[in-house]
């Protein structure tokens, strides 16, 4: 498998899509810090959530990775490289894993690019506060690597299961957007308060109209099995975990990375099972 990994890396260093992904991540980070700069120095407002600055790169990474993986593995199918690797006596298991490893490495490099850009720009524009203000950076980094792993496993699974590059591109991009939307929705539903304050106009004894605050039960608040289902969804959706990583108030739990790792193993296992039985044209 080392030979395949070495060949895949050799191609990665020559891949335009990879450098495009890198540039996008650095550019996205620069745009974010431009906003931070304007908030602090032009609008003279305080900026508190430095997790957003350092882990904000995870937000578009699902979409960016979908784009990269569909192109990178699509080129493997399109150019006949997968055919060639099988014909020269490589095991399908090794071909799948080598692609997964190199795509994961590309994802990590893209995230590190964002992180490094955030570190440089944060230090330049804001100073130590930007770096020291990160809440629980160790956990954040562990979670980030796990999130990248799940995303890579999912997109590699889709790309290795279908030889049609255009279809894979469309499916992965659409799914990445749906995943992001689903993650945001799940977190929003779970974070809904049980009670909300409603302003009501009431007439007092003198007949005068007054506005009063009234605490009312939130009918959309999730309870019981429905809440449990949403919590499981949150654990499994990498996009929902990203929202947690970007939040400075998050308290981490070992369950979170373990769930993401388990998910990666299951998706990869199924992907390998399908790929080993696949008729390649």
């Amino acid at each position: 498998m080392n030979r395949l990994i070495s060949a895949n890396f050799a191609r990665l260093w020559r891949s335009r899509v990879f450098y495009l992904m890198e540039s996008f991540m650095a550019g996205y980070c620069a745009l974010f810090y431009r906003d931070v700069y304007l908030t602090i120095y032009v609008n003279h407002k305080a900026y508190r959530n430095w997790n957003l600055g350092f882990f904000g790169g995870l937000l578009p990474i699902g979409i960016v990775l979908a784009f990269f993986v569909s192109f990178y593995i699509g080129a493997e199918y399109g150019s006949g490289a997968i055919r060639n690797k099988i014909a020269t006596g490589h095991l399908r298991l090794h071909i799948y894993l080598a692609n997964l490893i190199v795509c994961y490495a590309a994802a990590v490099i893209a995230f590190v690019t964002y992180f490094a850009t955030a570190f440089i720009l944060g230090s330049l524009f804001v100073g130590k506060e930007a770096v020291n203000g990160i809440h629980n950076p160790g956990w954040g980094i562990v979670m980030a690597f796990c999130i990248l792993m799940v995303y890579t496993a999912v997109w590699v699974f889709v790309a290795m299961s279908d030889m049609n590059v255009a279809r894979v591109g469309a499916v992965t991009l659409l799914c990445s957007m749906l995943l992001l939307a689903a993650g945001i929705a799940v977190v929003q539903f779970l974070e809904m308060p049980e009670y909300t304050v409603r302003l009501e106009k009431v007439e007092d004894v003198s007949g005068e109209e007054k506005t009063v605050e009234r605490t009312v039960y939130n009918s959309r608040y999730l309870t019981g099995a429905k809440r449990n289902a949403y919590e499981v969804a949150k654990l499994l959706l990498p996009s929902a975990q990203i929202i947690d990583v970007m939040n400075i108030e998050t308290e981490y739990d070992a369950k979170q990375p373990l769930c993401l790792l388990g998910e990666t193993f299951v998706i990869t296992g199924v992907g390998i099972w399908i790929f080993r039985r696949k008729d390649i044209k």
Binding site: L4, R14, A87, K281
Partner: protein, 304 residues
């Protein structure tokens, strides 16, 4: 005879479509095996099975004596270089970069020999030109160079001359002949361009509807296709004696029939046979090419 590839009752079925049906073939070591059949006959399907891209429904094949059901088949495939349908090359890389990647895939310790390979296929001066800007012939030759990396013993080429211009066809033909003669490489070429194949192949396998219709050596085929006179007489012994005395090449087909591979005057032969009291019952000139042989074989519907 030693074979590098044999198949026995190989079958491949796609849902309701039988692509290969009890296919049995034998590719001798050191031969250039012309694998002939019309589109959809099952040529590419067989190549896909041999290369491990697809799994056979039933039957088996053996590569250098290693059966397809054996785990060692993966190792045996390392002796193969193949182009299946289209050359396996990355369009956004140069010819040298493509070969460097192939060397890594094969686990070659150094990139020595890349220049020689490019020289061999006539792409030594392509420099930094990306493969996407190559002509079809150049891509095909690069595909062959990729397949040749690692010096395989057995080269499988699926329709290597499709879409090539006449110059490209000549170049590919000369390259294959050189590889076969200089490196003793066994080559399996699938094609339906019979004229071209006849200039290369030492053995033929004719496939139709997923089954091998006939396997024949080029020598045997040449004998069968030679311009000949088919003659029917009432005294085969007299005919044989006469032809022997005339020192012409002939082949007795039956007790009364013979094929004569020479230009003979009808009167001269008739006079000589008359002296031997032998009557000519029929006399027909035949001129069969590989194409007409193939058409007779596949189009006829009945196979011997």
């Amino acid at each position: 005879m030693e074979y590098c590839l044999t198949t026995a009752a190989l079958c491949k079925q796609y849902k309701h479509d039988k692509a290969l049906h009890n296919l049995s073939m034998h590719v001798p070591k050191g031969s250039i095996y012309g694998f002939v059949g019309k589109n959809g006959a099952g040529k590419t399907t067989l190549i896909r099975l041999i290369c491990g891209l697809q799994k056979e429904t039933s039957g088996e094949y053996a590569l250098y004596g290693v059966k397809s059901t054996d785990k060692a088949i993966t190792r045996a495939r390392r002796r193969i270089g193949a182009i299946v349908e289209s050359p396996s090359v990355y369009p956004d890389l140069t010819a040298t970069e493509n070969l460097k990647i192939q060397y890594r895939v094969l686990g070659m310790p150094s990139c020595e020999g890349i220049g020689e390979l490019l020289q061999l296929v006539g792409l030594a001066d392509t420099g930094r030109k990306k493969v996407r800007n190559f002509s079809l012939g150049m891509r095909q030759r690069l595909g062959i160079a990729v397949a040749l990396a690692g010096s395989p013993d057995f080269l499988i080429l699926d329709e290597p001359i499709n879409g090539l211009d006449p110059q490209g066809i000549i170049e590919i033909r000369e390259l294959i002949l050189r590889l076969n003669q200089e490196r003793q490489m066994t080559v399996l070429i699938s094609s339906h361009m019979l004229g071209e194949l006849s200039k290369l192949a030492t053995h033929y396998g004719f496939i139709d509807k997923g089954a091998i219709v006939r396997e024949i050596s080029a020598q045997e085929l040449e004998m069968m296709c030679k311009k000949c006179i088919r003659i029917e007489v009432d005294n085969a012994g007299a005919l044989a004696r006469t032809l022997h005395e005339m020192q012409v090449e002939y082949h007795m087909l039956s007790e009364t029939e013979a094929e004569i591979f020479a230009q003979l005057g009808v009167t001269e032969l008739a006079l000589l046979l008359a002296k031997e009291h032998c009557n000519i019952l029929s006399y027909k000139e035949q001129n069969e090419s590989l194409e007409s042989y193939y058409v007779n074989l596949v189009g006829g519907g009945v196979y011997e």
